[in-house]
């Protein structure tokens, strides 16, 4: 019953928040300078009043702003995000096309970041002030500081162009065609097709962009894990466990890590939310057809329905992720469950 109440509350918050986001983004897009007519019609066409009128009528831009808002909200209640001014396709179908690519890459990157970030954080905490600790800390600072677009070009240049040991841009090699769409995640869809070579090929294409995107979040996770683990390791109950003869590995994994990981979960959640919003520069360099590219092109074209659609998607991402993180808190820390 408590669980149902919890879920019910979350759904109401979600609906209210999405409504607020849609309204706020609608107002902001109308306030900022940028006319979709000017952005999308040619110089010649803009000189022709009939062409301009036809274009405005087609996309409802000739209506008063308040009417446009009411029409947009009415459609939104029917899960219709409108038609993209740039591509003339439903925004929902455009997001459905590009979002799975972003999900696949973001999930891969966050798993890499979490696994290696926590591992390095543990090593760094255990070997505090040793050379190993210094190396790990240098790697984590580099990961946080390095510009992603530069790092992307660097890894592509060395591992694909010069050494030729990893595949190039895109989601699949040219020898493979896209798998039949079930989830939109090429690795999973290829496995569902029973095509292991294609699945491995798709996985290999995730490596370079995944490493680039994981670098920043991994750095944060490493530092958070290290500092929290050091705090927990100095607590009385850890000293008691050590005095009772518990080995260091068991001490860390069974007694310390759980408490240290709670703040790390927050970092992972935020990192995933950030990745799911798309990273246009990395997507550009790796030809990854994700939400970042779509959002960038939409902004350039003053494509208001698409801009609002992306904003709603990002808001939804964070809401879902925060809910999952809250649930995981309860899994890791029984005290949270009892509250």
């Amino acid at each position: 019953m408590e669980q149902l109440k919890f879920i019910g509350k979350r759904l109401i918050y979600l609906a209210v928040m999405l409504f607020g986001v849609a309204t706020l983004v609608f107002i902001l897009t109308k306030m900022i300078p940028g006319d979709p007519t000017v952005a999308n019609l040619s110089q010649r066409a803009l000189s022709d009043p009939e062409v301009v009128a036809a274009y405005k009528a087609k996309y409802g831009l000739d209506q008063p702003v308040f009417v446009q808002y009411l029409l947009y909200m009415k459609n939104l209640l029917q899960f219709d995000l409108g038609t993209s001014i740039r591509t003339n396709k439903p925004v929902l179908s455009e997001l459905s096309r590009c979002y799975p690519a972003t999900i696949e890459l973001a999930l891969f990157a966050i798993v890499l970041a979490a696994v290696f970030g926590i591992l390095f954080g543990i090593i760094s905490a255990i070997r505090r002030n040793s050379i190993l600790d210094q190396i790990v800390r240098a790697v984590s600072v580099t990961g946080v500081s390095i510009p992603s677009f530069w790092f992307a070009l660097l890894v592509l240049y060395f591992f694909y162009y010069k050494l030729q040991i990893l595949p190039g841009p895109g989601r699949l090699s040219k020898a493979f065609s896209a798998p039949a769409t079930v989830t939109g995640l090429y690795v999973i869809d290829s496995l569902l097709e029973g095509n292991l070579p294609k699945a491995l090929d798709a996985l290999s294409h995730l490596l370079l962009p995944g490493i680039v995107l994981a670098a920043f979040t991994m750095g944060l996770i490493t530092r958070t894990t290290r500092s929290n683990l050091l705090d927990v390791m100095s607590m009385d109950y850890i000293r008691t466990a050590r005095a009772k003869g518990l080995g260091r590995t068991a001490l860390i994994l069974k007694h310390a890590l759980g408490n240290a990981l709670i703040p790390v979960l927050t970092v992972i959640g935020l990192g995933l939310g950030n990745l799911l919003g798309g990273m246009v520069l990395v997507e550009t360099i790796f030809n990854w057809p994700g939400v970042g590219q779509f959002a960038y092109e939409s902004v350039l074209s003053a494509d208001f329905p698409a801009i609002i659609g992306v904003a709603l998607l990002i808001a939804l991402n964070y809401m879902v992720i925060n809910t999952i993180v809250d649930i995981l808190y309860g899994v890791i820390d029984p005290r949270v469950r009892c509250q």
């Binding site: 010649r44 000189s47 036809a54 841009p169 020898a175 057809p289």
Partner: protein, 544 residues
């Protein structure tokens, strides 16, 4: 626990190792069922698929709406026009047309179609398809509707004969008929999918969604797949009526980054890279199996000085305009724009029929510029704002050109203050309304004909943006109609040369650079060439 950790770590390493080994140079295809044979990878000899990388996507592939740079590459592959440019610098030649004839007064054009033309659907092409296609483009009132504005009406005398009644004699009408928006559609198929060519087409036509996913033309290829912002796949038209090349399939990939294009061309993952830059070309200088083409396009950057003193201030003065012309370092601008850049003699770009070629390399003269400023009453120079927008000219930022112009004019005492303004947030409106005083902009040709440049004359579309009305120079303004009416090429060339001489040193426009295009391609291909109307004419490419 240690053993578990060790096992987990080893597992991760093994998985990563497997995936890495599955990558690197694209793995030989094990996908016999993918419809490609084992040797069918671009870059390998014997493959009949060509992969092209282009720098940006497009919003539509419906000929009735297209206006962006890259769609003509696809349209030219899948559709055909009555006339076509088979060479970038030549005149338009019959493609679907068999014969054509102008009336004596130039107000009527009669075209007959060739025999045996069929669409990819198998439907035969008739004059009804021509009428439908051109009327649809006009009545959709989209971006390219202007291209048919001199066509008053059309009639089909029989299944193969079309008579065009023009609003005025139009010496560029054949060039206009080569334009991608006037490609001939399979009217039966398009109508089945919501296509309409009536006067209310702008509100009743619903065929765009269909034409954005597949083609309905008579061209050498058929569009079999289009993923927006990702790729377009073109496959050989099995019902093609003409002589096809030996390329069975094109995959056109959207690759915005030039470094990525360079790397994938070098490794053989793509065959043609359309957006190379000076840096990436240098990297490929010694690459085996790769050729680079650097040539000037007809896209031209120009400085605009408003003739209306209210907006132009000092630059509305003809002597100041001449001084600015003399002060600009054209060679320096060519370096900024990259290898292959030209500076045109005047408003007709090099490569167009009737062009007088390039401006003299030693035209710049700072002393003459200072003397002209003194004559105009600005011996000590002056301050002026230059409004610049956030667009780029074939990859060259207009702000970079503006900075160079600022540096050049500083040499003669003109202090330029660069004011940045986004296109969609004020600049576009001001530019069209003729209220910009001093700016640098670019002009991409709407269609591959020198008449497109007549808009720079007094009273023309661009002329008015510089406050240059026909009354300010009636003699020059009259040359607009004189050129339009000159359906004889020699007569047209004579008028165009007069126009260029009149504007070589005078007027509110200084043409500073014809932007270059840099294409890299795999040497297994022949027939690769820069094409202003089609970007790359894939119907001329063969695999050697």
């Amino acid at each position: 626990m240690k053993k578990r950790l060790l096992a987990l770590a080893m597992g991760v390493v093994i998985v990563l190792g497997c995936t890495a080994c599955g990558g690197g140079q694209d793995a030989p295809s094990t996908e016999q069922t993918e419809g490609e044979n084992a040797s069918n990878t671009a870059g390998d000899s014997g493959s009949s698929t060509v992969v092209i990388a282009m720098g940006s996507g497009f919003s539509t592939l419906d000929p009735g709406y297209i206006y962006e740079k890259y769609p003509p590459l696809v349209i030219n592959a899948c559709y055909e026009n009555l006339f076509k440019f088979y060479d970038n610098d030549s005149a338009p030649e019959p493609c679907l047309a068999d014969t054509y004839e102008f009336s004596e007064d130039g107000m009527t054009l009669t075209v007959t179609l060739k025999d045996g033309i069929t669409f990819a659907s198998g439907n035969p092409m008739t004059s009804a398809d021509v009428l439908f296609s051109i009327n649809r483009c006009k009545n959709l009132q989209g971006n390219p509707a202007f291209i048919a504005e001199t066509i008053d009406s059309m009639e089909a005398l029989d299944d193969k004969t079309i008579v065009f009644h023009l609003t005025q004699a139009d010496s560029a009408i054949l060039s206009k008929l080569t334009y991608s928006s006037l490609a001939i559609l399979d009217s039966a198929v398009v109508k089945e999918n919501g296509g309409v060519d009536t006067a209310h087409a702008s509100t009743s036509d619903t065929a765009q969604a269909y034409l954005d996913t597949t083609s309905a033309g008579s061209g050498m290829y058929v569009m079999t797949s289009y993923i927006p912002d990702e790729e377009v796949v073109l496959e050989k038209n099995p019902n093609y009526w003409g002589e096809a090349t030996n390329v069975d399939k094109y995959i056109v990939k959207i690759q915005p980054d030039s470094n990525t294009q360079m790397m994938t061309l070098s490794t053989g993952d793509i065959d043609v890279a359309l957006n190379m830059t000076d840096d990436t070309m240098a990297e490929l200088a010694d690459a085996e199996g790769v050729e680079i083409i650097n040539e000037a396009t007809k896209t031209v950057g120009f400085v605009m000085m408003n003739m209306n003193e209210t907006y132009g201030g000092p630059v509305s003065n003809p002597k100041v305009q001449q001084a600015i012309r003399k002060a600009l370092d054209y060679s320096g601008m060519q370096i900024i724009c990259g290898e292959g850049t030209l500076t045109p003699y005047a408003i007709i770009q090099s490569g167009f029929m009737g062009s007088k070629g390039e401006r003299a390399a030693d035209y710049m003269n700072l002393e003459e510029a200072k003397a002209l400023l003194a004559e105009a009453g600005y011996a000590d120079g002056f301050d002026i704002d230059m409004t610049v927008t956030d667009l780029d000219m074939e990859g060259i930022l207009l702000t970079d050109l503006a900075q160079k112009i600022k540096d050049d004019l500083a040499q003669v005492g003109i202090n330029v203050n660069i004011v940045a303004q986004p296109w969609a947030a004020g600049y576009g409106d001001a530019y069209r309304d003729g209220t910009l005083g001093f700016t640098v902009m670019y002009w991409g040709t709407d269609y591959n004909d020198p008449n497109v440049q007549l808009e720079f004359l007094p009273g023309g579309v661009v002329g008015l943006r510089a406050g240059w009305t026909a009354e300010m120079n009636p003699e020059l303004a009259a040359m607009y109609q004189e050129t339009m009416a000159a359906t004889d090429n020699d007569a047209r060339i004579a008028v165009l040369e007069k126009i260029q001489d009149a504007m070589y040193e005078d007027g509110p426009f200084v043409m500073v650079a014809q932007a270059p295009a840099h294409i890299g391609y795999n040497t297994r291909l022949s027939g690769v060439a820069i094409s202003d109307p089609y970007v790359l004419d894939v119907t001329l490419i063969n695999i050697q």
